[in-house]
């Protein structure tokens, strides 16, 4: 982290936390104080409070993320069934998956699901942000309304859409057939391979685009108004202003949101699990759902974790790039 912290001033009061007998700095240093000085030089001036305050996070990260992660890498190289001891098999799980047609299909589906969702969310989010920066009344009210899908529980939204998409009594078919008359008969949105993927993408988009919108909006608000005025004086059209002032101004935020959402969407479990469980016939099977099915349906834990970790290299790459962007955003 390259942040420059103007903290921990050289003020004496700030550095005396918990140091006993530190009231007379001019007195010749006793061994204890000398040790303290050395420790501060080695560990940083605020090391006591710093270590104390960060200790709970260190414990939690080690116990809940670092250790499970390492254990996952180990388990993915074993044959492990629920309730039985793991047997070391090396990279066998990964090799087998590479040639497994069902797994390959899940990989393709995951990428389709992710890229389509993120692309549509970007477009809709941009639209939302532009509408909310234009001259409309009750702007903060509308902002609040449009953000609701992002706050509502994912499972509830997935269940809502399961009901909306219902073949016989769902309101979507009712609207299309009876209200608008676009279709002559209803569509099994989630039960037909041709529409299932688009339908689950629709739900992910519905839930996720407000986050894009609100983030782009924050970025647009930070662009100085003078830039637009100057562009207008130079005779720039609305489109030109968007391309040459707005877009460059929010480029960093767009990158962060795109990458963040790519990670989230790629690992979205609840929406697809509730809507289709990966069906029909694997048409919407994505890696997180496949991981769950192999682990708790087939009880083959080692193989399941290999499914989850198979995409680790690209995921790690995205995480590293993204965390650099996010830290840059902070220090600016």
């Amino acid at each position: 982290m390259a942040t420059v912290h103007p903290s921990s001033s050289p003020l004496p009061g700030g550095e005396r936390v918990g140091v006993r007998g530190g009231f007379h700095p001019d007195v010749a240093p006793r061994p204890r104080a000398a040790l303290e000085v050395t420790l501060r030089r080695l560990l940083g001036p605020d090391y006591r409070m710093g270590f104390l305050f960060v200790a709970p996070i260190v414990v939690l990260v080690l116990a809940l993320v670092a250790y499970p992660f390492c254990y996952a890498v180990y388990l993915s190289m074993t044959r492990k069934y629920v309730g039985m001891a793991p047997v070391w098999v090396g990279l066998e799980n990964y090799v087998r998956l590479t040639y497994d047609g069902f797994f390959q299909r899940a990989v393709v589906n995951s990428f389709t699901f992710t890229f389509a969702s993120v692309a549509i969310k970007t477009v809709l989010g941009m639209g939302m942000a532009l509408v909310l920066t234009s001259k409309i009344r009750f702007r903060s009210f509308w902002t609040g309304v449009l953000l609701i899908p992002w706050v509502a529980p994912t499972v509830v939204s997935a269940l809502n859409f399961l009901w909306i998409y219902d073949y016989s009594l769902g309101v979507l078919n009712y609207l299309l057939v009876h209200v608008f008359g676009v279709l002559s008969h209803g569509v099994g949105w989630l039960s037909e391979p041709g529409t299932a993927m688009s339908s689950v993408i629709g739900v992910n988009v519905w839930r996720g685009f407000p986050f894009f919108g609100i983030s782009f909006l924050a970025g647009m608000k930070a662009i100085p108004g003078e830039l637009y005025e100057a562009a207008a004086v130079d005779g720039a059209t609305v489109v030109q202003r968007f391309r040459h002032v707005t877009l460059p101004g929010i480029r960093n935020i767009v990158m962060i949101v795109l990458l963040l959402s790519t990670i989230w969407t790629f690992n979205d479990f609840a929406i697809i699990y509730i809507l289709t469980k990966g069906g029909p016939g694997g048409a919407t099977m994505v890696l997180p759902v496949l991981t769950y099915e192999i682990a708790f349906g087939a009880q083959r834990l080692g193989e399941a974790i290999a499914v989850a970790l198979y995409m680790l290299p690209p995921l790690a790459f995205v995480i590293i790039v993204l965390s650099n962007y996010m830290r840059k955003g902070r220090t600016r």
């Binding site: 982290m1 912290h5 903290s7 921990s8 009061g13 700030g14 605020d46 090391y47 409070m49 270590f51 104390l52 305050f53 960060v54 996070i57 990260v61 250790y67 499970p68 992660f69 996952a72 388990l75 639209g127 939302m128 920066t133 234009s134 001259k135 409309i136 509308w142 449009l146 706050v151 509502a152 529980p153 994912t154 499972v155 509830v156 939204s157 269940l159 809502n160 859409f161 009901w163 909306i164 219902d166 009594l169 309101v171 009876h178 519905w206 407000p210 609100i214 983030s215 924050a218 970025g219 930070a222 963040l260 790629f266 690992n267 479990f269 997180p288 965390s323 996010m326 830290r327 902070r330």
Partner: protein
């Protein structure tokens, strides 16, 4: 936006604002309709559902779905479980996150930069690659099938998020405020407690709400860790209502309404802080 009051531009502005409102209304309908549909369904009776009359309004309004939910399902227990898990996780995450974020944003000590990076990376690691080993670990500790197990596991995503969000808040508070308090004789801890914490209160509130929402909405861990029907949380409980029969939808939607209410109520009440927190947490530009 720029305001230019030329005679020719008035026309353009009118057109622009008409287009803006048209797009806005489309967005609002798209966003609101599923919620409208959920609420309407929850008040429809079984006979109305089967006969497809008055599709978009309950006729008559009935409370039978809610009665069914309270009397014939474990919904009330699930609601209680969700409250227990979400509230405990929120307290834990906010306490741990506040201390950690302050240290990582303000104090100088060995390993600070490394920990700050670790927190961010941990926040980005998705639960879908952690849930199996976490489940194994929770089981080994004898916490499988208990709310304690969920409370123990949820900090894996609430704490990094809260810490990251609050680091931004603490960094935005001028360091001079602390310094002047310490010149006046306060210790660093005293300055933290009496000067910084009150100033960061909106941030604390926003991050607490986010921690609560995340824990309240969490599905995967709760689905995997809990097998006892009575110990389910709301998202998992609701998902077991999917029966394929028409009748199930009424009380399923009633449950969905009641599950959404707490987070939406909190959100409406504290919208300002939450929107601020949301943008500060992920994208601060």
């Amino acid at each position: 936006m720029i305001v230019r009051k030329g005679r020719s531009t008035v026309q353009i502005e009118r057109t622009q604002s008409a287009v803006s409102y048209a797009i806005l209304i489309t967005f609002v309908l798209f966003v609101v309709f599923p919620f409208y549909w959920m609420i309407v369904t929850s008040f429809k009776g079984e006979s109305q559902m089967r006969s497809v009359v008055s599709m978009f309004w309950p006729s008559p309004f009935v409370a039978e779905n809610y009665e069914h939910l309270f009397k014939k399902t474990e919904f009330v227990s699930w609601f209680g479980n969700s409250i227990i898990v979400a509230v405990s996780s929120t307290f834990l995450a906010t306490a741990v996150g506040t201390l950690g974020a302050y240290a990582l944003a303000r104090l100088k000590f060995l390993g600070r930069a490394f920990m700050a990076s670790t927190v961010l990376i941990t926040y980005l690691v998705p639960p879908s690659i952690l849930f199996i080993p976490l489940y194994a670990q929770i089981r080994n500790l004898g916490l499988a099938d208990s709310l304690t197990g969920l409370i123990a596991a949820y900090p894996s995503f609430t704490v990094p998020f809260v810490t990251w969000l609050l680091m931004g808040y603490f960094e935005s508070i001028p360091v001079e405020l602390e310094e002047s308090a310490m010149i006046d004789g306060a210790t660093r801890f005293g300055a933290f407690r009496r000067v910084i914490l009150p100033l960061a209160a909106p941030g604390l509130l926003a991050s607490a709400l986010y921690a609560f929402t995340q824990a309240w909405n969490e599905f995967l861990y709760a689905l995997v860790f809990i097998t006892n029907v009575k110990l389910r949380t709301l998202p998992v409980g609701l998902s077991t209502f999917i029966t394929g029969d028409v009748y199930g939808w009424g009380y399923l939607m009633a449950g969905a309404v009641l599950t959404t209410l707490p987070v939406i109520a909190a959100y409406i009440y504290l919208q300002k802080y939450m929107v601020e927190g949301l943008t500060a947490g992920s994208v601060k530009g």
